[in-house]
């Protein structure tokens, strides 16, 4: 596969909720093996864009292409069939179940009609080992006994288990301490190294600069910058982009500002 081509490409996406125009001609690309950060102030349209990509909201206009082919993401099921998975901020884990049970929730492996615990347990271990997760002592631990970082890891592993090609992470480090943030950021990098197209939604500019390959900034429903991280190594630059829509030569032109 050509690594220069985007694995997922959204072009000219528009979305309105009644009179509110939430997304204006949004162009957004995700590359395999790269971390693309999606940044923006609250209300900039990040979540709406993610929900359009995953088929939760229907878009008003615009097109999606996946691996170069035009696709119609008509619902969450289509998105997951394509290999697009989202890890939401609330993680959506069942605390009363163990790691294996959570990873396979809704897609349990069966053998003669009964749960095939052995094969699911092994697959869980393989997936976690593939992500170099070294902090989990037993895959039969219940999620309630895990730390915040470990839970995030389990949620990410759940997205990866299905051979996903694009993984969207919504604020994965927002509720974590320093050490656990470290673990999760390492994991984000490892996802990209495994060839997955990673989208990181974050408010933490230090995380963004550290872990991303590309940065996509949104301001009031528009994409105001889509640049490699090498040209955005200053925190102030990014903060200016998301608060005023422009910074120096990059961003909205004066007349386009609303």
């Amino acid at each position: 596969m050509n690594t220069d081509a985007a694995i997922l490409e959204a072009s000219g996406i528009n979305k309105t909720f009644g009179p509110v125009h939430v997304l204006h001609d949004v162009d957004f690309k995700v590359y395999a093996g790269q971390v693309t950060s999606l940044i923006g102030d609250n209300g900039a349209g990040k979540s709406t864009l993610v929900k359009c990509i995953t088929g939760i909201y229907p878009k008003d206009s615009g097109t999606f292409a996946f691996e170069g082919q035009p696709v119609d993401i008509g619902g969450p099921r289509v998105a997951s069939e394509l290999g697009i998975e989202v890890v939401y901020q609330d993680l959506a884990l069942c605390e009363n179940l163990d790691i294996v049970q959570n990873l396979f929730l809704g897609r349990e492996r069966l053998k003669t009609g009964l749960l095939d615990e052995r094969s699911m347990e092994q697959a869980t271990r393989d997936t976690l080992a593939g992500l170099s997760v070294r902090t989990v002592k037993s895959v039969r631990q219940s999620v309630s006994s895990l730390s915040g970082g470990q839970r995030q890891t389990v949620a990410i592993a759940k997205a990866v288990l299905w051979k996903s090609k694009v993984v969207l992470l919504d604020e994965p480090t927002a509720a974590l301490g320093v050490a656990q943030t470290r673990q999760v950021l390492d994991l984000v990098r490892r996802l990209a190294e495994n060839g997955i197209g990673v989208v990181l939604i974050s408010h933490n500019m230090n995380d963004v600069i550290e872990v991303s390959d590309r940065v996509c900034a949104m301001y009031l429903g528009r994409v105001v910058a889509d640049v490699p991280v090498t040209s955005a190594t200053k925190r102030e630059f990014l903060v200016e982009l998301i608060t005023s829509g422009r910074s120096g030569d990059v961003g909205l032109r004066e007349e386009a500002t609303i």
Binding site: R77, Y88, D90, L91, A92, L93, C94, E95, N96, L97, Q101, L105, G106, R107, E108, L110, G113, L114, L115, E117, R118, E121, R125, L128, A129, R134, T135, V136, K137, S138, V139, R140, S144, S145
Partner: protein, 423 residues
């Protein structure tokens, strides 16, 4: 493994691959208990303490053979209804009308038996129980009324149906021998022994199988320990039950394991199997733990809710047959009074959470034993004068209600506190 710090050095799923010995399993359990997850321990302790207490206070009647059988029969209906309620408790829902579902199903059974043969009568009774459960489930899962409210209304609704069926204040006699023997009939001594033998072999086999699947996380010594304890216990109880326990001047001897034992055991095994080994069971726990996560995983949450209420209804209906069989008749009080509270209490005392997602079928049995021991033992203790307090009538309903109520409160406190501690 004896050094507790060694565990911190283990990574990469070390706990899944390290062999454990008896001591470390005991240690793991102590750690689990200390973290507030008490499971069924309070119920097991309560059974031991209560048996000791009542046995000490009244060794002749409480520890008699006839009371042992009587106790098992008393506990059976409540245990079955507790299993029914457990299904909705696992979802964090409640069914306050399960007692009257049992009552209505029993009334249908009794009235149909006046005209129909046994099998169609049982079929009709089961069908009605399923319909009542489905009705509750529809109101909760599809209409979206909280189960507490729906089933509170159903208490009146179903009680009304029950009154109409048994014609206000009357009672319907049951003459069918099979239903009469459900609670009260016994296996013959020889089939009792066969039953115990087969049961023990199956138990040992299932334990060994579990040990193999566990990657040696369960030590063989623990398996042997469990099987030996089960063997000693069941052989002891059976040897008491196969002896004649009728009063000296009774016309016929009464001996053998009461039918309720294999019946309840079969239900226990079947339902445990459904909960632990099938996809449906897994989804039930998932919806109880986090309905939103289950929904996002593609589980049809309303359908799981609906089905849990249907199963609850059917099992309550079976419990109704047990209730009717015990007194050979159905009246407006069948399944009324404290039936439901004892059932919910049994599940909770056994360690099933009222908040959903935690629980086993075995909990209903253990809790059911505790709540059946209390009235059984208190009745036999009767009037006793305590030093400094004066005479207390332990056999009165007042005392029994107070004790059962306190036990339930205690159990729910343990549930709530352990939940608080784990979050």
């Amino acid at each position: 493994m004896s050094d507790p710090n060694a565990i911190h050095a283990l990574t990469d799923f070390a706990l899944d691959t390290v062999e454990k010995d008896f001591k470390s399993v005991v240690h793991d359990n102590v750690v689990r208990l200390k973290s507030g997850n008490l499971g069924s321990l309070p119920a097991i302790l309560a059974i031991i303490v209560l048996t000791g207490l009542f046995g000490w206070a009244n060794p002749n009647s409480f520890l008699s053979k006839i009371n042992l059988a009587n106790f098992l029969e008393q506990a059976s209906a409540v245990i079955v209804i507790a299993m029914a309620v457990s299904f909705v408790l696992l979802l964090g829902e409640i069914d306050l009308s399960a007692g009257f579902t049992a009552g209505v199903a029993a009334a249908v059974l009794a009235t149909r038996l006046e005209h129909w043969a046994l099998l169609p009568s049982i079929g009709m009774s089961a069908l009605v129980a399923i319909v009542l459960g489905a009705f509750t489930g529809f109101m909760v899962a599809k209409v979206g009324i909280p189960s507490f409210v729906v089933t509170l209304a159903n208490v009146l609704l179903f009680q009304g149906v029950l009154l109409l069926l048994v014609k206000d204040g009357g009672s319907v006699r049951i003459d069918d021998d099979v239903i009469k023997d459900l609670v009260g009939g016994n296996l013959s001594p020889s089939s009792s022994w066969i039953f115990v033998g087969v049961g023990l072999v199956l138990f040992a086999w299932s334990q060994v199988r579990k040990q193999r699947v566990s990657h040696r996380a369960i030590p063989m010594s623990l398996v042997v320990f469990k099987v030996v304890v089960a063997a000693i216990g069941s052989v002891l109880v059976t040897s008491l039950l196969v002896e004649n326990r009728a009063f000296p001047n009774a016309p016929a001897p009464i001996r053998g394991i009461p039918y309720v034992v294999p019946l309840v055991l079969m239900l226990l095994l079947l339902l445990t199997f459904v909960l632990n080994r099938t996809r449906y069971g897994r989804h039930l726990y998932a919806v109880g733990g986090n309905a939103e996560a289950a929904r996002r995983a593609g589980i049809n949450v309303p359908r799981i809710r609906l089905s849990a209420f249907v199963i609850c209804g059917l099992l309550a209906g079976i419990g109704g047959a047990f209730l009717a069989s015990r007194v050979n008749s159905v009246d407006p009080n069948t399944g009324a009074n404290d039936t439901l509270l004892l059932a919910v209490g049994s599940a909770v005392i056994g360690g099933t959470s009222l908040f959903g997602g935690q629980g086993r079928m075995l909990n209903a049995v253990l809790g059911g034993f505790v709540l059946a021991l209390i009235p059984n033992g208190l009745t036999l203790v009767g009037k006793k004068s305590l030093p400094g307090v004066g005479e207390i009538d332990f056999a009165s309903s007042g005392t029994k209600f107070i004790c059962a109520g306190l036990a339930l409160l205690l159990a729910s406190s343990v549930d709530a506190l352990s939940r608080k501690r784990s979050t």
